[in-house]
């Protein structure tokens, strides 16, 4: 049983390595994500951001502009997720002393 586990693990590793061979090189300017026009002839987003972030928002850090301005909905959802996690921790882990003393 243990050897079967290792065999499955090795096969999975080999599959992941084989899949990673098809990816473009990092920083390749001709990778599809860096093109001005995507393979389905829609304008590429990343080159637009790189060209226009400084002009649109007067902010030097491109990542800040993308996170808070171009993708504002995304950050709003992320913050809602954090808020929900905090509220769930509050509801699951809070002290139930008053209720317990009433019952006991």
């Amino acid at each position: 049983m243990k050897t079967a586990n290792y065999i499955v693990l090795l096969l999975f590793t080999a599959l992941m390595i084989y899949a990673s061979l098809g990816l473009p090189q990092r920083g390749d300017p001709y990778a599809p994500i860096h093109l001005e026009e995507s393979p389905v002839h829609s304008p590429g987003a990343s080159s637009y951001y790189i060209r226009n972030a400084r002009r649109d928002a007067h902010t030097n850090n491109m990542v800040t502009v993308i996170l808070a301005d171009y993708r504002g909905y995304d950050t709003l959802g992320e913050e809602t997720v954090i808020m929900t996690a905090g509220l769930i921790c509050f509801m699951l882990l809070r002290r139930r002393k008053e209720k317990g003393s009433e019952n006991a």
Partner: protein, 145 residues
């Protein structure tokens, strides 16, 4: 923690270091336009400074710095700052989260820059309050279950 034994060296060092961590966190939030950083990282750093005081001084003494009951209201306030910035843009004639419609400055680009700053402050406040409140609930809750 059941019995908190205070060590003077640890207590002194953490009390000395904590304001500087908070100062660096404020730098990270407000300088996020020009250097790496932003609301999330800065808020986490403030939470780390508060939790450092809580670890060294004991959770009961540290309530004087950041009370246990502030966590949920401040977190809600942070989310409301973000959402209110987006909603104010709607009321001033733009689209949701379109900071150029807020007219915070003469140029639309500067207005968007200030809008990003407002949003980052909201994110930092929410992240600080929520992380500290998770720590508090984890430590204090279910004590007599």
């Amino acid at each position: 923690m059941k019995t908190h034994r205070s060590n003077p060296i640890v207590s002194l060092v953490s009390r000395m270091v904590s304001p500087f961590i908070m100062m660096f966190a404020l730098y990270v939030i407000f300088h996020g336009h020009y250097s790496p950083g932003g609301g999330f990282q800065g808020g986490t750093l403030i939470a780390a400074a508060i939790i450092l005081v809580r670890l060294s001084e004991g959770s009961d003494t540290a309530q004087l710095q950041f009370s246990r009951s502030w966590g949920t209201p401040l977190g809600s306030l942070g989310v409301l700052i973000y959402f209110g910035t987006g909603l104010a843009a709607v009321f001033m004639g733009g689209r949701f989260l379109d900071y150029a419609a807020l007219h915070l400055a003469h140029h639309a680009s500067m207005s968007r820059s200030y809008g990003i700053l407002l949003v980052e402050i909201g994110v930092g406040l929410a992240v600080t309050a929520i992380l500290v409140s998770i720590y508090d609930n984890l430590l204090e809750g279910e004590a007599d279950a």
